[in-house]
């Protein structure tokens, strides 16, 4: 069966989005999104680990027996995370100071686990890699969106300290949208995470419904030009 990469990409980014559709990985999605920059950093770190670990799981899929698959999956993702953690500490130290606390949290994210079990362990390495990559990118988009809402309403800034994460060239995307100290503190605190996530889930469902309705109106058009 030929792999449909377009579906993989679309599922990962939108249709089957880790946070907004599957409701997985909510712990890092909520804990890490006090700012858009934090969300971006956590999302990218998760993406790197997911893509590499999915590929590994897929390479070893014929060796891993059903009975021990869960411990092996955990082992693979824990090993990848530890390696990323050590390498970042040694060679990307500034970034590590921002993200270091959260890297180990990737191990307990159930999104990689779910993708290993549901997809990577049953597919060849390349599709598994693509699935891990785009599931990770979908996760990143979700985290940046939640982080952006919380940061704008809570601190009045957007992408504050992004230059620490991405390099000095990204100073330009650090914006102040509201005057200092005018934000709603609650949005940076844990309740804000639930509010922002819930709101975005609603937005996604409404958009999905609208897309479905538009498709139903024009049933003959398989690939809409838009």
């Amino acid at each position: 069966m030929a792999t449909d990469y377009r579906t993989l990409v679309k599922d990962g980014l939108w249709n089957n989005n880790g946070v907004f559709a599957m409701m997985l990985g909510l712990c890092p999605a909520m804990a890490m999104t006090t700012s858009a920059t934090n969300g971006l950093g956590m999302g990218l770190a998760t993406t790197a680990v997911m893509a590499a670990a999915s590929c590994l799981v897929s390479l070893f899929r014929k060796l891993i027996t059903r009975e021990v698959r869960i411990p092996v999956f955990i082992l693979i993702s824990a090993a990848m995370v530890t390696m990323v953690d050590l390498a970042m500490n040694a060679w990307m130290h500034e970034l590590y100071k921002v993200l270091g606390l959260f890297i180990p949290l990737i191990v307990v994210n159930c999104l990689p686990m779910a993708r290993f079990e549901a997809y990577a362990s049953k597919s060849p390495p390349l599709p598994a890699f693509v699935d891990g990559l785009f599931m990770g990118l979908g996760f990143t988009i979700a985290l940046v969106a939640i982080g952006a809402i919380r940061e704008i309403t809570g601190s009045g800034t957007l992408f504050a300290d992004a230059s620490l994460l991405l390099g000095p060239a990204f100073k330009v995307i650090e914006l102040r949208l509201l005057p200092a100290d005018s934000g709603v503190l609650m949005m940076i605190l844990p309740p804000g995470a639930f509010l922002a996530t819930g709101l975005l889930v609603v937005v996604k469902r409404l958009l999905d419904r609208r897309i479905a309705a538009a498709k139903a109106k024009a049933p003959n058009v398989v690939h809409s030009p838009a």
Partner: protein
């Protein structure tokens, strides 16, 4: 490979093929263990170097470079604080004479301990205090970070007699230091930490400023 042993009457009879799962899991553990060991040995020196740089950076903030010609990070003194906990003191010297010392202090915050580093000159004047780690509420308690406000800079140049010991408190507790809007517990914790650091210096002044 899994025939039950006749010599062990209580041996559990394994399901056929059980052993192979253990072997597979063991092989994965071994393989990834080796991979991790390799990564660790490749990164160990760099990580230690980064840790040292971090320490130098935080010391530089509380001990002005003009005060010393040695490297305070390596010129340490092992002491124990009032509670008996080990405390590493970093010494700044110029031409051999101790001109200032720096050490870590801690106070109770709103959510967990606030760790700070404090630099103090040989004459007992505060050179500076900086937050190393805290878990205070973002937007409220984090104004103790020098990045987020200048509150922490107000202690520079003060000492245990200036102001008098009983005024080393936040205003709400009858002291002379402003708390900031919405947060009293955090500044109070910082003041507890600084006060304990000043007391430590007063109690151990001779040992801290000794030549060797």
């Amino acid at each position: 490979m899994n025939t039950p042993s006749a010599n062990l009457p209580n041996a559990v009879e394994l399901k056929p093929g059980t052993l192979i799962h253990g072997v597979i899991l063991g092989c994965f553990c071994l393989g990834f263990g080796l991979l991790l060991a390799l990564t660790y040995s490749r990164t160990r020196d760099d990580i230690a170097a980064r840790g040292l740089e971090d320490k130098q950076n935080s010391l530089r903030q509380v001990i002005p470079p003009g005060l010393h010609d040695n490297d305070p990070v390596t010129d340490t003194l092992a002491m124990s604080d009032a509670a008996g906990k080990p405390l590493t003191v970093y010494r700044a010297r110029r031409e051999g004479r101790v001109t200032g010392v720096a050490y870590e202090i801690a106070g109770p915050g709103y959510s967990g301990e606030i760790r700070l580093i404090m630099g103090i000159a040989a004459d007992g004047k505060l050179l500076g205090v900086r937050v190393l780690a805290h878990k205070e509420t973002p937007g409220l308690g984090d104004k103790i970070e020098v990045k987020k406000g200048d509150w922490i800079l107000r202690f520079d140049g003060l000492s245990l007699g200036q102001p008098p010991a009983e005024l080393w408190k936040v205003k709400k507790d009858g002291g002379q230091f402003d708390q900031f809007a919405g947060a009293t517990i955090t500044p109070r914790g910082v003041l507890v930490a600084i006060r304990s650091g000043l007391d430590f210096f007063a109690a151990n002044r001779a040992a801290l400023t000794a030549e060797n």
